[in-house]
């Protein structure tokens, strides 16, 4: 597994996050560009609501980049829904080329990675990277219909109703995509779908240790490391797994799943999850802090658990994956 180092060739131009009401009430609520009080966003299905949420983030990021839709050469997007339909219906008839990716909750880093390589290779000028998730579409698909009122295990995470979008561009801005590390699929035989943090932590440890080794750097060289959505169980496990290889991330580490809600006052079990979790924290909080120079050298490691309802019902294990992006203020 090799880290791809870019040489000041891909930059963040515009970014935006859109969230639902619970996320707005969370600790980072003030950082999100747009919030929808109605989780249905005025639509008649949760699925249409998620597509609209993603579209609002994409449109906002393009606007904040000072661009129009016609300036966008390509959209790289994906989501958690079967056949990635949230992204499909968010991007129909836009007259822009579309590249679909699937990385479960690692999608924000995956789409940024793909978009950045296409920019850095000189193939396109402005590429959108986007993703979303919605609590109600995810519950229906992965767990139980909301009406059933299913109980959750304390290790379970709450799928974030949120979307994030960035415009990656070839023209220099103050935030550079410094490197990309695509992870590998790590399967440790975990089968408990209410404990996805544990399933994803080994993949995150694998990608993060590969990154430090490939770049010959240590956690001290960075201002912050954010994982996607390991939640309480998974992030504890990650710290322990990395300590075994003599990497101490604790001084710079936080997890988007632990950050997004107010866990003392909101009923969200082990924290947030879903593609929209790390996406909205990245496009809401992290990149805003970088634009203000309050964070300068950041590692963003989004993590995904790659099971499906069918594979879970068939007692297959839950493989994990983690992709890492190094953003740097220049």
């Amino acid at each position: 597994m090799n880290t791809i180092i870019l040489n000041k060739s891909a930059f963040v131009k515009g970014f935006a996050a859109s969230v639902g009401p619970l996320e707005k009430e969370g600790k980072y609520g003030k950082y999100f560009d747009t919030f929808f009080k109605d989780p249905l966003l005025g639509e008649d299905t949760w699925e249409k609501a998620e597509s609209k949420l993603q579209k609002s983030a994409i449109d906002n990021s393009i606007k904040k980049a000072g661009l129009n839709n016609k300036d966008i050469d390509l959209i790289v997007a994906g989501d958690l829904l079967n056949q990635c339909t949230a992204s499909t219906f968010s991007n129909i008839n836009t007259n822009t080329s579309y590249l679909g990716v699937y990385g479960a909750c690692s999608t924000m880093a995956l789409s940024i990675g793909v978009a950045s390589l296409i920019i850095s290779g000189g193939f396109k000028t402005n590429v959108v990277a986007a993703t979303s998730s919605h609590f109600c579409t995810a519950e229906r698909q992965y767990r139980f219909p909301l009406e059933y009122g299913g109980q959750k295990a304390p290790s379970a995470q709450h799928t974030v109703t949120g979307a994030g979008s960035l415009v990656i561009t070839s023209k220099p801005t103050n935030i550079e995509i410094k490197s990309i590390t695509f992870g590998k699929i790590v399967d440790m035989g975990i089968t408990d779908a209410t404990n996805m943090g544990a399933a994803m932590a080994p993949a995150a440890a694998d990608t993060i240790s590969a990154f430090f080794s490939n770049t010959n750097t240590t956690p001290c060289d960075y201002d912050a490391l954010f994982t996607g959505d390991l939640g309480e169980v998974g992030s504890d496990l990650l710290v322990k797994l990395l300590k075994k290889t003599n990497i101490d991330i604790t001084p710079i580490y936080d997890d988007c799943g632990l950050m997004i809600y107010d866990r003392e006052n909101q009923d969200v079990d082990a924290g947030g999850s879903g593609c929209g979790c790390s996406a909205s924290i990245l496009c809401g909080y992290i990149l805003n802090m970088m634009q203000k120079n309050e964070l300068k050298n950041v590692l963003f490691c989004a993590t995904g658990s790659l099971q499906s309802p069918t594979s879970a019902n068939q007692n297959m294990s839950i493989p994990g994956i983690a992709h890492l992006i190094n953003f740097k203020v220049i």
Copy 2:
């Protein structure tokens, strides 16, 4: 929508196709590297069988490229299953970085496109592009359990049990990836899931006409144009749609969905479909013909219909997408 022209920077090194028994008995049976008489491939679920089928194509393509697994820098793969689990379980614990894509039946062209840009940009040396589909996993997921014995409309297509894999490399071989055209999502309001050819044809027409316009070429400049899996209804429609824009593809045109089976003697309705349809015809027949110099300048346009069972049940339309790769013998 712009075609990306590569300048002798990405090449096809090894390729392989693996299929099931019905495909082996079809018109192109002799071109497939591996066939499995048992559609379960000795596994206890159809889903495990599909992963094994994809793995056999990947392993074979690496072997035929004269490489080992450790020489592969990245695997780009996807499939039709919810959360792309066929590709996930095909590539767990391989120690190779993994980049998941989703393009429904357009996945073969999509994964080749992404892999080729990563090679052409100088980011990696050997990248695998792969996909698969399986009749029994697709029936279970999209339509009815096999045991139900559901009847099909004559416009319906038969999902191919097949997988294809290529190694794309930076070192020159005799087959170059000349250009890539990522399509846009085209939604014409089709809602009949038993007529996916009609849903995909407008997207194919859009991508193909953009390609000819962008490259200032005509069908006469190419030996062959293959669409992914439009089947009988969709390919007729494509020819008509392109004629309206004064593009006559008939002298060079064939559709992988119409090619793969012996439709006079096999009960496959409007032809083959699924990611594995165009993948196995490409990695079985087309690239073999190119290696023998019998085809020299080929357009491969894989088409995908982007619905999910949920979106179909919600009466959403079926958006289509088509990505186009130009392969050239040098």
